[in-house]
Amino acid sequence: MYALIETIHAAGLLTCFALLSTSRIGACIRWLSFQGILFGMVPLIIPDDGLTTRTLLMAGGSLVLKGIAFPWILLKLRARANYNREVQPFVSFVMSILCGILILSLSVWLTLQMKPALIHAPFVLLNSSIFLIFVGLFLMISRRNALMQVIGYLVLENGIFVFGVITVVGTPLLVELGVLLDAFVGVFVMGIAIYHITREFGSMDVDRLTELRG
C-alpha cells in the first residue's frame, strides 16, 4: 500500500516537472490528463474502510472530469486557436525546472511544518498536494498563453483535491462533489472567456490583454 502511495507521489511529481518543461500545449494537456487520472485514484487507496459508494463516486467523478472532460475541452480550445501551439514562457524551461526543484524543497519544508497538525494524512501525499498547489500557481504566472493558465489552475485544483481527500475525514460527499462541479464550471467559464479573447484579439497571449479594444 505504501509503495503504491509512494509511486503515485513520484509519478505525480514527474508530471509536474513534465508540465514545467514541455513547450507544446497539446503535450501539456495530455500530461494534465494523466495527472488527473493519477490523483483521481487517491480516494480509492487512502481510506481504511475500503471501497464505498462515496469513494467510488469521488474517484469516478474526478477521473471522468479531470482525466477526460477537462482535457477534451482544452484540446477543443487549442484546435480553435490554431495559430500558436507553444506555451510561450516568461521563464525559460531550464529555469522553470530549477524553480520546480526549489518549489519541491519548499513544499517538503512546509509539509514538515504542517505534519504535526495532520497526523492521519500520509506524508508523501501531503507533500505532493502542497507541491501541486505551488506548481499550479507558478504555471499560471510564468506562461503567456491563456490556455496554460487554465492548466495551471487545474494543477492547483488537483493539489486542493488531494489535500482535501487526505486531510479532511468527515466531509459530506455533497461538498466534495460540489467542489468538482465548481472546477467544472470554472473551466467552462474560462473556456468561453478564452474563446472570446482569441476571437477579439486574434491571440491567446495574455500580454496583449492590456491593449484597449473599443
Binding site: A3, E6, T7, H9, A10, A11, L13, L14, F17, S21, F93, V94, I97, L98, G100, I101, L104, S105, V108, T111, F123, V124, N127
Partner: protein
C-alpha cells in the same frame, strides 16, 4: 568479508571494455539491416592506432601530449573504485563517489586542455560545448550517487552497491527507478552518444567530443579510443549495478549477471542510437537538466 576486492576486476574491465563498443556498433548495424563490423573491431582499431607513428602540430606543447595519457590514467584509476554490481572494487573508502566523479572530471579537463592547446578555433568550440554539458551532467551524476548513498546509508560505492538487493528495490522502487533513468541519461551524455552527440559524425556543426580529438593521431588516438571504451564500462557499471540487483554473495554469479547486464546495456545504447535523432544543440542542456531533476526528485522524496 575483506574491505576490498581483488585486482582481477579492473583487469577484466581493461580487457573487456572495448567489446562494449563492438556490441553497440553491431546492434546499430543489425537494426540498420547491415552485417556490421566484427565484435572485436574496436580492439583491431586500437591496436592499429598504437602501431602508428604520431604527428604533432608545430604549435602544440607538452599539454597536447599529456591529454590522452591523463585521460586514460584517470579512467584506469576510476576503475579501482568502481564496483561491478555485487563484485567489490579493489579500493573502497568513505567518499569515493566524489573521487570517481573527480577523476572523470580530471580526465575531461586534460582532454579539454589538449584541445585548447592546438590553438584551433574549431577545437575550442568543441571544448566549450563539452565543458558546458559536463557542468550540467556532473551534478546529475553526483545527485544520483548521493541518492543511492542516502537510501543505502553508506557513502562508499562498494557498500552502496552491495546493499542494492531485490529487497531494497521493493522498498525504494520509485527512488531507484528515478536514479536509474538519470544514470541512463548520464551514460549517454558522458559517452557522447546520440541523442547528445554522435560519435560517428564528423559534421562541423554538431560534433562535441570528436572535434576535440581531431588533431590527435597514432598512439594518442588509440589511447583516446581505449579511454572512451573504459568510460562506457565505468559509467555503465554504475547503471547496470543498480538495475541488476542480484547479490548472491558469489563473485562468479554476481559477475556473470553483471556481464549479461553490460551486454544488454550496450544493446540498449545501440537501439537508442538507431531509434533517436540527435537533439538540437540548444535542447541538450534541457535534456540533461531534466535528467538531473529526476535525481533531485528522488533525493528529496528520500529526505522525508
Amino acid at each position: 568479508m575483506p574491505a576490498s576486492g581483488s585486482l582481477a576486476l579492473p583487469v577484466c574491465a581493461l580487457i573487456l571494455a572495448p567489446m562494449l563498443l563492438g556490441i553497440v556498433n553491431r546492434t546499430k548495424a543489425v537494426i540498420a539491416g547491415r552485417r556490421g563490423p566484427p565484435l572485436l573491431q574496436p580492439y583491431w582499431d586500437i591496436a592499429k592506432s598504437l602501431r602508428r607513428g604520431a604527428v604533432y602540430g608545430e604549435v602544440t606543447t607538452w599539454l597536447f601530449r599529456l591529454g590522452p595519457v591523463v585521460g586514460l590514467a584517470t579512467l584506469a584509476a576510476a576503475l579501482l573504485v568502481t564496483p561491478f554490481g555485487g563484485v567489490r572494487a579493489p579500493v573502497s573508502f568513505s567518499g569515493d563517489p566524489i573521487v570517481l566523479v573527480g577523476l572523470l572530471a580530471l580526465g575531461r579537463f586534460a582532454t579539454v586542455l589538449a584541445a585548447l592547446d592546438t590553438g584551433s578555433s574549431f577545437e575550442g568550440m568543441g571544448a566549450s560545448r563539452e565543458v558546458h554539458f559536463a557542468a550540467l551532467a556532473e551534478p546529475a551524476l553526483l545527485l544520483a550517487l548521493a541518492t543511492l548513498a542516502r537510501v543505502t546509508g553508506s557513502f562508499a560505492l562498494t557498500p552502496v552497491y552491495q546493499a542494492i538487493t531485490i529487497g531494497a528495490w521493493a522498498d525504494a522502487l520509485p527512488t531507484f527507478a528515478l536514479v536509474a533513468m538519470t544514470l541512463l541519461v548520464i551514460t549517454l551524455v558522458e559517452n557522447t552518444r546520440i541523442p547528445v552527440d554522435d560519435p560517428a559524425t564528423h559534421l562541423e556543426l554538431t560534433m562535441i567530443h570528436e572535434v576535440m580529438v581531431l588533431d590527435h593521431s597514432g598512439p594518442d588516438l588509440g589511447l583516446i579510443q581505449y579511454a572512451a571504451a573504459l568510460k562506457v564500462w565505468i559509467v555503465g557499471a554504475l547503471l547496470v549495478g543498480l538495475v541488476t540487483p542480484i547479490r548472491s554473495g558469489s563473485v562468479w554469479l554476481d559477475g556473470a549477471a553483471m556481464l549479461v547486464g553490460m551486454v544488454l546495456l550496450a544493446g540498449v545504447i545501440g537501439m537508442i542510437e538507431s531509434a533517436m535523432a540527435r537533439y538540437r544543440l540548444a535542447q541538450v542542456p534541457q535534456f540533461i537538466v531534466a535528467a538531473a531533476t529526476l535525481s533531485a526528485v528522488a533525493f528529496i522524496i528520500r529526505l522525508i
